[in-house]
Symmetry: C2
Subunit: 450 residues, 2 copies
C-alpha cells in the first residue's frame, strides 16, 4: 500500500471497555492463578460455558436491569443470541443440561468474562471478570462451612491478613421477621437492612417507615435485631432471645453455630468470622447462610467476596431440585483495593533478569546463559538488539527488571558476566562456569525461589 | 413459583458452541498455565483487549471470509460493534493506541477467546481460544531465534519429546521466485507450495500450471526448490546453489543460518529444527522467518504452533513502522492430539484426596485434617454429606480421586485414619498426630510434590 493512499483508522476502544496493559494484567493474572489454586485445593473443578447463549436462556433470569443491559442480537443464522451477563444463569443451564454426566454433589469454579451495557461511570466497565465457586446438589452444612473456609483461604493466599468474613443466615432473618409480623414484606425490609452500613439505623428506620407499613414497634424490633453485637457467643445469645421458639429462626441459629464451629476447626483464626445480622444481600434467592467479606484497611470499597445458600438453582431449566451454595470473588474490586493499599508490584515484565546484548557476535553466549537461568526457574529476557548499553539499561529500568547481566568480549572470553542489581546500582563479576551455578545462586539469593 | 405454572426452558447450547466439563477443562487450564509460564520465562508480558471493538477496527483486516464470519451488531448506544475474530487485529490496534506507554521492543502474550461464525463441521467451533506471543518493534534476528526457542520450550513443557519445528524464510522463497521469474505471481505460487504435504509434487505442478502462467521450466524449478532435503547443512548448501547471487535470497539464507545457529546455542536439540522450503504459510504479510510445528506421532493433525515475521503490524492504525514476529499455539489442536495420543489424565477432580464423611459429628476432625493436608500442598475434598461409605467411594471412583481418607469414631478417638489407595484398593492405618506428618509423608511419596 502506498503511504499516501492509506486511510488510517483511529485506534480506540469502545466506551466502557478497556485494554489491560502488562502492568495491569500481571497482577490480574496472578490473582486468577491464586484463585484457581485455592479452588482446586478444595476439590472445585473448572468449567467453561459459551459467551453466547440463546437469548431465551439468559432473558428474564436476572433483574429487569440485567435484561436491559444484556448485549443481544440476531446471529448469521437468524438465532436470537445474548452475551452472558453473569456466570450463575449459565451454571443453571449447564447443570440442567449435563446433570447425568457431572453427578452430584458438583463443585465447580468458573472464572470468565461477562458483559453488561451499563451506563458508564467511574470504575464501572461493560466488560468484567467474574470468579465464582459453587457446590450444587447438597443441603449439607459442611458446604456452608467450606464456603467460609474457601473465602478465608482465597484472601489469605492473595496476601491479606486483615479482613473479616461477615456471616448471616436468611432463615434467622426470615424467622425473626415472621416473629415481628413482617415476613410478608421481607423484600422491602431486607432491602432497607442491607443499607445499614451506608445510611445508619435512622436511615433504615426512615426507609422502613416509607417503603413498608411497619408500625413503630416493628421498626424498633428490626433496629434491635440489627444492633445485636459483641463476640460471636454474645451475638448468638442475643439472637436466641429474639428468636424465642420461632422454628425457622431456631434452625437458622443452629446453622450459624455449625458454621462458626466448623470454621474454627477448618483454620479460620479467632475474630475473623463474625456474625452480622445486618447483612441481608438483597437477592431474593438466598435461603440460608450469607457471606460478605471486608478488608479491614479499606472497608469502604465494599464486600470483596460475597455469596450464600440458595434452594433451587436450575428450576427454570429442570424439575430436578438442585440446592446449592457459592460465592464470588470480586476480582476488579480486589485489584482496585490492592492498588489503593499499594500492595501491587509495579513491574511491567514477568521476567526479573535482562541479559544485555552487548554485541551481536556474542548472542550464542547470551542464549546459552539465558537457557541455563530459565532451567533454574529464573525468568530471563535477552535484549533483541545490540543497542548502546545505556539504552538497554533505560529499557530495563522502565520495565522494572531486578537485575541485568552484561558480558562484553572480555567476559565472554573469561566465561564471566557482570551482574548488576538495578535498584541499588551495585555490580559484581560472576563466573558462569559449571552451568552458571554461581550466577544462579546469587540471583536466587536475592530474587527468592528454589 | 408454583411447580405447575413453571414454563421450563430447554437447556441447550448454540450450534457450534460447547460447554467445557471438568475433564475437558482441567487439561485445558493446565495447557494455558504452561503456556503462560513459558511466555513469562522469556519476558513476554500478558495483555488483554476487549471482546467487542468498533466494527471499523475489525472489518477488512482479515480476509473476506473473516469479515463474513464476524459476529457484529448494533449495541444499545447505536454503535456498530464486532466480536474479535483473532488476536492480531486487536494487537495492531492496541500497539498503535498505546505506543507511547508500552515502549519498544514490546513482547506480549495474549490468551483469549475469539469468535467466527463458520459453517459448523467436525472439530470446528465458532468460539475458540487463541494463544499468541509476539515481539513488536524490532527487526533483529535475535527475535527470530527466540521465537524458535519459545516454540521448543512450549512443546517441551507441555510434555512432548517427539516433535519438529519446520523453519523457512520468505526472503528465500521470494528471492528464488524472483530468480525463477515468478515473483509477480508469488501469491498463487506460495498457495500451491503450501499444499505440498497434502497433494504431493504432482499436485503442486498441476496447480501451478492451472493457476499461474508458469512455463514447464519454471514449474520444474519450483519443484526442485521444494524437493531440497537432507541435513540442515545439506539444505543450506543446495539453497545457496539455487540462490546464486540473488540478493534477497542470500539475505534470507543468512537469516536461516542465524536461526539455526542460535537455536542450537539456545538449547534446541539436534534434528528438532529443520529447514523446510515447502512451508510458505499463505498469509501475505509474512516477510522473513516462518515456522510450523509438527508432532512426530501425529503429523496429520497439522501444525500445532505456527507463525512468522512481518514487516508492519499496525499500518492501518498508525504511521509508525512496527515490524515484528510471533507465533500462535494451537491449543484446541494440541488438546485433540493429546487426547488421541492418550496423554490426557482422565480425572474430573483437581484434588487427589477425598476425606470421607463417616459421621457428621466428626466433621471438625475431618476439617482440621483437610486443612493440614492443604497446607502441605495436597488438594483435599471433604465429602459434604455423611452418606454411606460405599456411596462415597463410588463418588471418589467416578471423579478419579487417587486416595480416600476414612476415620470413624474409633480412629477419631485414637488420632488415626485409614488411608485407602483407590486404584489398588490397598488400605492401611496411619496416625495423624504431629500435624498429620505421617499421612502427609505417605501421600507425598505416592502423589509426588514437595
Amino acid at each position: 500500500m502506498n503511504e499516501k493512499t492509506v486511510e488510517r483508522i483511529e485506534p480506540r476502544t469502545l466506551k466502557g471497555f478497556r485494554d489491560y496493559l502488562p502492568e495491569a494484567m500481571l497482577p490480574r493474572e496472578r490473582l486468577m492463578e491464586t484463585a484457581r489454586k485455592v479452588y482446586r485445593s478444595f476439590g472445585f473443578a473448572p468449567i467453561d460455558t459459551p459467551t453466547l447463549e440463546y437469548f431465551e436462556v439468559l432473558a428474564g433470569k436476572g433483574s429487569e436491569e440485567t435484561d436491559r443491559q444484556m448485549y443481544h442480537f440476531e446471529d448469521q443464522g437468524g438465532r436470537h443470541v445474548g452475551m452472558r451477563f453473569d456466570l450463575t444463569v449459565p451454571l443453571a443451564r449447564f447443570v440442567a443440561q449435563h446433570a447425568n454426566e457431572i453427578g452430584f454433589p458438583f463443585k465447580r469454579y468458573h472464572i470468565a468474562t461477562v458483559w453488561r451495557g451499563e451506563a458508564p461511570q467511574a470504575g464501572r466497565y461493560r466488560e468484567f471478570m467474574q470468579c465464582d465457586f459453587d457446590t450444587i446438589g447438597t443441603e449439607s452444612i459442611a458446604s456452608d462451612i467450606e464456603t467460609a473456609l474457601v473465602i478465608n483461604e482465597l484472601l489469605t493466599a492473595i496476601g491479606f491478613e486483615r479482613f473479616q468474613i461477615r456471616l448471616n443466615n436468611r432463615k434467622v432473618l426470615n424467622g425473626l421477621l415472621k416473629r415481628f409480623g413482617l415476613l410478608d414484606q421481607s423484600t422491602a425490609v431486607l432491602r432497607a437492612i442491607d443499607k445499614l452500613g451506608k445510611i445508619g439505623p435512622e436511615g433504615v428506620a426512615k426507609e422502613l417507615r416509607e417503603s413498608t407499613n411497619a408500625a413503630a414497634e416493628q421498626v424498633a424490633a428490626i433496629l434491635q435485631m440489627t444492633a445485636v453485637s459483641g463476640t460471636t457467643a454474645d451475638v448468638l445469645r442475643q439472637l436466641e432471645l429474639l428468636a424465642g421458639d420461632e422454628e425457622l429462626a431456631v434452625r437458622g441459629l443452629d446453622e450459624l453455630r455449625s458454621v462458626v464451629g466448623g470454621s474454627a476447626a477448618g483454620g479460620i483464626p479467632d475474630g475473623r468470622l463474625a456474625i452480622d445480622v445486618s447483612i441481608a444481600r438483597g437477592l431474593d434467592y438466598y435461603t440460608g447462610s450469607i457471606y460478605e467479606t471486608f478488608l479491614t484497611d479499606l472497608p469502604t470499597i465494599g464486600s470483596v467476596c460475597s455469596g450464600g445458600r440458595y434452594d433451587d438453582l436450575a428450576k427454570l431449566f429442570t424439575k430436578q431440585h438442585l440446592p446449592g451454595i457459592g460465592a464470588s470473588l470480586g476480582l476488579d474490586r480486589l485489584l482496585a483495593a490492592m492498588e489503593e493499599l499499594k500492595l501491587l508490584p509495579q513491574a511491567k515484565t514477568p521476567a526479573q533478569v535482562l541479559v544485555v546484548q552487548f554485541d551481536a557476535g556474542s548472542l550464542p553466549y547470551y542464549l546459552t546463559l539465558a537457557k541455563q537461568l530459565r532451567a533454574a526457574g529464573i525468568g530471563v529476557e535477552v535484549f533483541p538488539e545490540p543497542k548502546k548499553v545505556g539504552q538497554q539499561f533505560k529499557y530495563a529500568d522502565r520495565r522494572g527488571f531486578a537485575a541485568a547481566v552484561i558480558a562484553g568480549p572480555d567476559e565472554v572470553a573469561a566465561g564471566k558476566v557482570q551482574l548488576k542489581w538495578l535498584a541499588e546500582g551495585s555490580q559484581a563479576e560472576v563466573s558462569v562456569g559449571n552451568g552458571a551455578a554461581e550466577l544462579i545462586a546469587q540471583l536466587r539469593a536475592k530474587l527468592g525461589g528454589a
